[in-house]
């Protein structure tokens, strides 16, 4: 794990191990969310027993190096009316996957787009794109658009609608 900050390092008594440990404690303390009070980072700093400025600087560094993707609200997309959510999966020749992946990822109807391994014979698909809509018909129409865009570069595809959320706790470190 990379170290925290120039400011942290400037604190002579703090070792790199301490910094890595602080980063980990920040994740554990903040992964369930920030408190809804005027000075949420001060509250978090108190919880962790560190100076608020040090904590905020650590968060800024974690944002800059990508360990924090973003800070903000996470909407429940079902409650926002996006009730039809499909994982669309595509069998694309390995030679084409980067170009096709970029093209599909650029579509504004796709929220996530990844290459994943095939598991033949059960699972021939190597490109995954999440498509969301207000109805299954809307999603199916969007999938048709993707299929047309890709043309004969796609050997096969499938659309897996989610029918039930069995668990959704978000990513959590176990702690301890």
């Amino acid at each position: 794990m990379s170290v925290c900050t120039s400011r942290c390092e400037a604190m002579a008594c703090v070792t790199q191990d301490d910094i890595a440990a602080l980063d980990r404690r920040i994740v554990l303390a903040a992964q369930a969310g920030l408190p809804l009070e005027a000075r949420p980072y001060h509250w978090l700093a108190d919880e962790l027993g560190v100076d608020p400025e040090t904590l905020m600087q650590c968060l800024r560094v974690m944002q800059a190096d990508g360990r924090i993707r973003r800070i903000g609200v996470v909407p429940n997309h079902y409650r926002l009316g996006y009730t039809a959510n499909a994982m669309t999966v595509w069998d694309v020749a390995d030679a084409d996957i980067r170009e096709v992946g970029r093209q599909v990822g650029e579509l504004d109807i796709v929220s996530h787009c990844y290459q994943r391994p095939r598991r033949p014979p059960d699972w021939p698909y190597n490109l995954f794109a999440m498509v969301h809509g207000h109805s299954r018909e809307e999603v199916k129409a969007k999938v048709q658009q993707i299929a047309q865009l890709l043309g004969d570069r796609v050997r096969g595809y499938d659309v897996l609608f989610s029918t039930r959320i069995l668990k959704k706790t978000g990513l959590r470190l176990a702690g301890g």
Binding site: D23, A30, Q31, A32, G33, L34, L36, E37, A38, R39, Y41, M56, L59, R60, M62, Q63, D65, G66, R67, R69, R70, I71, G72, V73, V74, P75, N76, H77, R79, L80, I97, R98, G101, R102, V104, G105, S111, H112, C113, Y114, Q115, R116, P117, D122, W123, F128, L160, F161, S162, T163, R164, I165, L166, K167, K168, G170, L171, R172, L173, A174
Partner: protein, 147 residues
């Protein structure tokens, strides 16, 4: 949900500031007050319109491992297997999907070894094969829903 709620959802899915009074700064951008923004967020969280508020961490960048896994679960055993799988704290999300491959879950662990151990433990508990489909390339993660 009124227009301020919509602005909050549309404009605050990222970019929440890191400073002493972040709600005040964010509220100014949204054309409201610090206390109103806090009240709105609390209401939308309580109401379930928002699932959480805070930093979204990147598991792999933190040194952890993340993977999407799939299983073909016989229908008559589906709920039992769902309970067995969900009992693992490493299972972050789990969705039922209408396909022969009908259970899809995300595993998030602190190490690659723990990921493999968890997969083996799920296979042992359920007697079913787990198809491990880790991300090889990320082309896009938008995560932005417009209302």
């Amino acid at each position: 949900m009124d227009s301020l709620d919509r602005r909050i959802i549309n404009q605050l899915q990222g970019g929440f500031p890191v400073c002493e009074r972040p709600f005040r700064e964010a509220a100014q951008r949204l054309g409201t007050t610090e206390s109103e923004l806090i009240t709105r967020l609390r209401c939308m969280l309580d109401d379930g319109l928002l699932t959480r508020f805070g930093p979204l961490f990147h598991a792999e960048q933190l040194g952890g491992a993340l993977s999407l896994c799939a299983m073909q679960v016989p229908h008559e055993r589906f709920d039992t297997v769902a309970e067995q799988v969900n009992a693992f704290p490493q299972v972050a999300h789990n969705y039922q999907r209408d396909h022969a491959m009908n259970m899809w879950f995300v595993l998030a662990t602190e190490s690659a070894e723990e990921l493999q151990q968890t997969i083996r433990a799920i296979e042992r508990d359920t007697g079913l094969e787990v198809f491990n489909l880790p991300k090889q390339e990320e082309f896009y993660v938008g995560l932005h829903f417009q209302v």
